[in-house]
């Protein structure tokens, strides 16, 4: 059975708009597990064994979070340090996640045009997340193209709805791709 794991990290989910809609859209798909980090570990005490077992059970790893300060939320960063450890995620002949799919989903508050050489953020968003490329490489994961939603607070409802639909569609098709190798 091919399954997807959505690792979700949002410190203020209760106030989110885009992320909440996205998660709602994939609710109930039997092959998709949503794992809410801030809900599971509010004290930042991460159960490393349980996390690693969860990763091993799934074939497509989705990492989903809002962008704050050109970065991922603190708890996800902590998760990365502890769970993707040497001897499990990387190391000679020890890449236990080898061959699994990796899909990065990010939401940013600012509009897309600001993430450009001439925009206020000066670089494309992917530049700030070069580390995900490295992560896929070091752990021998098969990376799918990043999915980014911009202007997440202020975009109109119908634009957002269309973005969410694409998100759902992509998830299902990547899952299918993983299924057939």
């Amino acid at each position: 059975m091919t399954k997807a794991l959505v690792i979700y990290a949002h410190p203020a989910h209760q106030r989110s708009r885009a992320n909440r809609m996205m998660l709602d859209s994939i609710k109930g798909i039997s092959d998709v597990t949503v794992h809410d980090l801030y809900q599971t570990y509010p004290d930042f005490f991460i159960d490393v064994e349980a996390e690693q077992a969860l990763l091993l059970e799934h074939d497509l790893i989705v990492i989903q979070h809002p962008v704050y300060w050109y970065n991922m939320p603190a708890l996800l960063r902590e998760w990365q340090d502890l769970v993707l450890e040497y001897g499990f995620a990387y190391g000679r002949d020890q890449q236990k996640l080898k061959g699994k799919g990796l899909w990065i989903v990010m939401t940013a508050g600012a509009p897309e045009h600001t993430y450009a050489t001439e925009g206020v953020n000066e670089r494309p968003l992917s530049d700030y997340f070069l580390q995900y490329e490295r992560m896929a490489n070091v752990c021998a994961l098969k990376a799918f193209p990043n999915f980014e939603i911009y202007h997440s607070r202020h975009m109109t409802d119908d634009v957002l709805e269309r973005a969410v639909a694409t998100y759902r569609q992509n998830l299902l098709s990547y899952l299918e791709e993983c299924r057939h190798g």
Partner: protein, 610 residues
Amino acid sequence: MAEAGFLAQAFIFLAAAVIAVPIAARLGLGSVLGYLCAGAVIGPFALGLIGQDIDEVMHFAEFGVVMMLFLVGLELDPSKLWRMRMPIIGMGGLQVVLTSAAIAGIAAIYLDNWQHAVVVGMVLSLSSTAIVLQTLNEKGLMRNDSGQSAFAVLLFQDIAVIPMLAILPLLAVSEVGTFSDKHNLPGWQSALMVLGVVIGIVLVGRWLSRSAFRIIAQTRLREMFTATALFLVVGIALLMEHIGLSPALGTFVAGVVLANSEYRHELEAEVEPFKGLLLALFFISVGASIDFGLFMAEPLPVLAMVGGLVLVKLVILLILGKLFGLSSRSNAIFTFSLAQGGEFAFVLFSFASAQDVLPAYIIEPLTLVVALSMALTPLLFVINEKLVLPRLGGQQQARPHDAIDHAEGKAILVGFGRFGQIVGRLLRMNGFEITVLEHDAQQVDLVRSFGHKVFYGDAARIDLLDAAGIADATLLVLAIDDHERMLQTIEQVKRHHPSVKILARAAGRREAAELIHAGADHIERETFDSALSMGRQALTIMGFRAYQAQRAAKLFKHHDEKSLYALSEVLEDDRKYITMAKQHAVDLEKVLRSDDQANTELDDRGWDAQ
């Protein structure tokens, strides 16, 4: 002694001590020298305030030595001994044997018979535990190689006193004062008796003392414990004396047997002041009996003997330090610290004199020599620091690194009920050494049966905390529920040991403020965190996200503690309860109001709504 005479004499002794000891301490000479000087001043060779009955006083004061050995025994926790077995037996053993042999060899040249020479060698091989430990402690050298080696040697010497006391009578040249003069038993029988008595003490100590102490403890009368501790020491001493053995040996064995007992610190605290006073008396009487006339008459031979003694000791210690791999700096400190005669020499001399082992014409000059060599100790330290160490180079101070070693950094935990247990278990699980004091004898038994090392004792007493080692502790945790007791303890500990951090358990808000005011470094209200935790669960069930509830609880705690600390400062101005209560109400209101503000603030801060 008539009562007036006794009081007058006590007054002279006390006055001399009260004047001389602080002066000696000021000059960095240590209390033992202070007492000796005090004795010398009031003795027949100076002011002549005390005269004929000095022998009587000395005999009485020797009981202080008996108590000292009981306390030395109490300190000898078997596991500590085992850990240090190599330096104790190796360095200590060799030091005593080699120094005894060397001095005996030299003495044999001057003395008529070899027995006297051997006795002199043994007696002079000992160093001064009291002076050396005090000095090394003051200089912060105890944790270094040099300090630990010196401690090992001193420990061996302290233990070696016991067999020496047993051997001395065998070396008597004259007929009187043989080993067992009361019973005149043949050698093997008296040996059997020694064995029997020691086994008896061990058995009684193991099986009977615990229940006896528990019954005493349950009376909750402090003076009963004092009486019991004295009863124990005096009883054993009398028993030993009756069968013709050394009382010091008996109490030492009793001390070792009780070293593992939960009542150890309590016993230490009870016996300590008596020991201190009696030892002081002993040193004063030794000082008074020093024959300065002798020194005046023949200063050169006396000085030569002092120089010879120190030199022999220096050479042997230096070789031992090399042999056991001390660095040259550590070795210098080790060597110079131990190169004097010790207080046990006075004990052994007076014992030898009583048993007619040594004649007075040998004892008198040698007592003078030992006292002078002790007086030289501070001077030797100065020579080492100013002349020797600078030549050795290397780092200025071989300071142990700062990282917390697990065996180091000692914590004392007071109260081992539901609250204290959690703190104690957490510390112990993470490898920290803790000493636990608990005042409920039944609780002590219960917890002990689960394998925890807990001592019986009422911790509001500074002397008990001293016995538990507060002087070199990092942390004191007060987890008892007697608020007034804790306040007293905090004030006392902060006064005597300001560097010790204190954590205290508070019943409620007001108690917490008082504890902070008294000087606690950190307080925990016993129900606050669990209530907060429950509030956090409540928020989650009411629909908050887990992390949101966590933040809300943290924020609440932050505000509440801030106002609590503010409240504790108000205490300083006015301790009246009514003002306090008013302040309380105002403060609570402030907390509630700021909570409202905080909520809206938090909602708008950070983490925009993506």
